[in-house]
Amino acid sequence: MSGMPTFIARRIGSGLILLVALTAVAYALVYSGSTNVAQKILGDFATADQIQAKAAELGVDRPLGVQYADWLLHAVQGDLGRSWFTAEPVLEAVFSRLAVTASLVMLALAATVVLSLLLGITAARHRGGAADRGLQLFAVAGEAVPNFWLALVLVSTFAISIPLFPATGFVPPTVSVGGWLLSLVLPVTAIVVGSVAGSAQQIRGAVIDVLQQDYIRTLRARGLSERSIVLRHALRNAAPPALTVLSLQFIGMMSGAVLIERVFALPGMGNLAVDATIQGDIPVVMGVLISMAVIVVIVNLLVDIAAGWVNPKVSLA
């Protein structure tokens, strides 16, 4: 573990370079796809003078490089600007929406971890058996079904035909914990089916690989219970690839949440990103983008650290 601080420093450094590169490219792309912003904000009847004044006020009359440098300078100080269309501070908008998306994704991730481990280990221990074949079938079906389609089916069935859960909307946990859980049951289910299908297969494969190792045979010969072998030894050694898969699932969920948030009208990052993109609200688009990028970098870092912690044999080079 002595290389851990160096490893973390190196990963943070590469993460920062990635963030700068990503935001530069994104800024150029977003800017090129969003012209005449001042006119869009002011409406059809704006005069040329008004448009010019608004462009100057927003700073969009400056060269692209200058605009990006200005944005970056403020961003590193925690100032992501204000929405061009609503004047809402971007940081405020991002944080309020992040809470919704985080609720959705963290619950989905927790459900994915529990269900994937349960299904993956069971299938690995009974390789070729009914449970294993069932998992194969579920994996194919789960991967094949688009989550937005599943979401619509869930709404139609469990919110309209059998009104158990709300069809749309989000209840903050500060208002009602029960309402919060209920508002997320269908969205989380729509995400989890696909993610469990993929993760359970990966865990199954990793556990099977470990169970075939010589040291497992030795452990069995020493009389350790199968439960202990699987949970304490096999799972620990199978953890690194599983964690990598889960981190990818997490990132996938963050982006997949866009569609789910639209279907369930959840006021999260996905909805914010879509609305801002449609309007050409560059500060908000950039705010969402950098927030998501920071989250992805942090999650990857944490997963690497966790993999090293769970299994010290994992290389930190």
């Binding site: 796809g33 309209i160 009104p163 069809a167 749309t168 909307g169 909805n271």
Partner: protein, 511 residues
């Protein structure tokens, strides 16, 4: 084992409680039966709110957010007539350039302070100086307040749409000390029937309004509370309606059948003109368009009825006019001015010297579902169209910069004078190439200066007929605006807005 069983039982019980709670919540939300008292009106909105500052308010979908907070000086009835609102009387002088508004004597802001003419003036000036989309509405008007209850607007020339503007965002009044401030943008002190309950409001998710106890006509608003939920996706809005979470939504032809099947109250009104804007009428970019016969040929080349059926599922009215088909400017005979007649189109092109047709580049965006058909139909008469893709978010701004001689567009119609201001003057946003025609200007001036309603109507008819004859535009049809409510809520379709104003909703009467 027993412990596990107990745990399982507890988990099952917890799940059951959650499910029952969910059922309970879901059961609370649906609307009551027709005729039964409904204390909360919950409606959806396609767009989230932007700002509550009077200068930034918008027409369209966002009226759902600000009409609970703001009353207007005048009121537009479902029959499209202007009636008193906060101003109990309004009167023009004989030149129609001086409008005198007399305020009611019982107007107060939601904090209990009196609303005076000075407050109205402050709001109007804030509106004029603002950068909102509607600050043109009071542009150039001089505002004076002879006394606490009188506001006088003096114009350079008559503006027949001014009264309509005062029924919309130009007629709202917030307490002046909040104008332009963050507090005023988020939660202004106004004089409308409701106030914002900030504890139960979350941007992007839900806006809750409770009664303003100082409002002067609470009987006009039967609901104790109003809740507006921004739901961008139409499918999600429909699901929210079907599950009873909301009682009103803006629809489209794509959801019309499903809404009817669900038993919702469905109403519509023609609102948006869909067609080609021929803006290069002097032929600076595409010389052929300078010839009236070519512009007429374009009108004859388009199968408007077919387009209405295929892209709008028939929800609209065939039209060759600039104006709304329910406005006083409408001339019924003009609907058939250009029947689908490709042979006539070819003949006109040949007469104009374009027997071999000509080439033209049109912009296209992702929401334009008529482009393929329009391109084919123009191609059938020899007008070879090349489409260039433009991002949907930039489409309007791009076509208004003069990069295209002609383009497909969807523009809202309503007050005829407002429609003229959008399309005819050289400063009009849709007169992209700033075309001037003295004959048309004279007709417009005649309509503007009309003293009686009859003269005004005749003047508009003359403008309408001239525009159709000269083929300044190539409209296909006027698309219906659709709105649905659950059966316990009734509403009037606003004559000039895509969604109802709050005053247009009421509890449905029992059968």
């Amino acid at each position: 084992m027993k412990k596990n069983l107990r745990r399982s039982t507890r988990m099952a019980a917890l799940f059951a409680v959650l499910v029952l709670t969910g059922s309970g919540l879901a059961a609370c939300a649906p609307s009551s039966a027709p005729g039964q008292a409904t204390t909360t009106l919950t409606i959806s909105s396609m767009l989230d709110n932007a700002s509550f500052d009077p200068a930034d308010l918008e027409n369209g979908h966002r009226v759902s957010f600000w009409t609970p907070l703001y009353d207007t000086l005048l009121v537009l009835t479902p029959e499209n007539t202007v009636e008193p609102g906060m101003a109990e009387a309004f009167e023009y002088d004989e030149t129609r350039t001086v409008l005198t508004l007399t305020l009611r004597d019982d107007l107060t802001f939601s904090d209990g302070t009196a609303l005076t003419a000075a407050d109205v003036k402050a709001n109007m000036e804030h509106h004029q100086q603002g950068t909102g989309q509607n600050n043109f509405m009071l542009r150039g008007a001089a505002i004076s307040t002879p006394d606490d209850r009188t506001v006088v607007l003096t114009l350079d020339s008559p503006d027949p749409a001014l009264l309509t503007y005062l029924t919309m965002v130009a007629g709202v009044v917030a307490k002046p000390d909040g104008l332009g401030t963050d507090a005023g943008k988020d939660n202004p002190i106004a004089a409308g029937p409701y106030i914002l309950d900030t504890k139960r409001t979350q941007r992007g998710s839900v806006y809750t309004y409770v009664r303003n106890e100082h409002y002067w006509a609470p009987e006009d608003y039967p609901f104790e509370e109003v809740v507006v939920k921004p739901i961008p996706e139409e499918t999600a809005r429909l699901n929210a309606m079907r599950s009873g979470q909301v009682a009103g939504m803006a629809g489209t032809p794509q959801t019309f059948t499903e809404a009817e099947k669900a038993g919702f109250t469905v109403k519509s009104k023609p609102g948006d003109r869909v067609g080609l804007q021929i803006v290069d009428r002097e032929g600076t970019m595409v010389p052929a368009l300078a010839d009236k016969r070519v512009r007429q040929a374009i009108n004859y080349a388009i199968d408007s009825d077919g387009l209405l059926r295929s892209v709008q599922q028939g929800h609209g009215a065939r039209s060759a006019e600039l104006f709304n088909v329910e406005s006083i400017a409408h001339v019924p005979e003009l609907a058939d001015a250009y029947p689908y007649d490709p042979e006539r189109a070819k003949a006109l092109l040949a007469e104009a010297g374009y027997a071999d047709g000509f080439d033209i580049t049109l912009p296209q965006n992702d929401t334009d579902n008529s482009a393929t058909l329009v391109g084919q139909q123009l191609g059938d008469v020899g007008i070879r169209v090349t489409y260039r893709q433009e991002p949907t978010s930039n489409y309007v701004a791009e076509v208004q910069t003069g990069r295209y001689a002609m383009f497909s567009n969807r523009v809202g119609t309503g007050d005829p004078w407002w429609d003229i201001q959008k399309h005819i003057p050289t400063t009009a946003p849709w007169n992209v190439f700033e075309t001037v025609d003295p004959e048309l200007d004279a007709l417009v001036a005649t309509a503007r200066d009309a003293v009686t309603a009859e003269e005004y109507e005749q003047g508009l008819h003359a403008v309408n007929a001239w525009l159709v004859e000269e083929a300044w535009f190539a409209p296909f049809f006027q698309a219906d605006r659709l709105y649905y409510t659950t059966t316990d809520i009734d509403f009037d379709v606003h004559p000039q807005n895509i969604v109802p104003y709050l005053r247009d909703y009421r509890q449905a009467a029992a059968d």
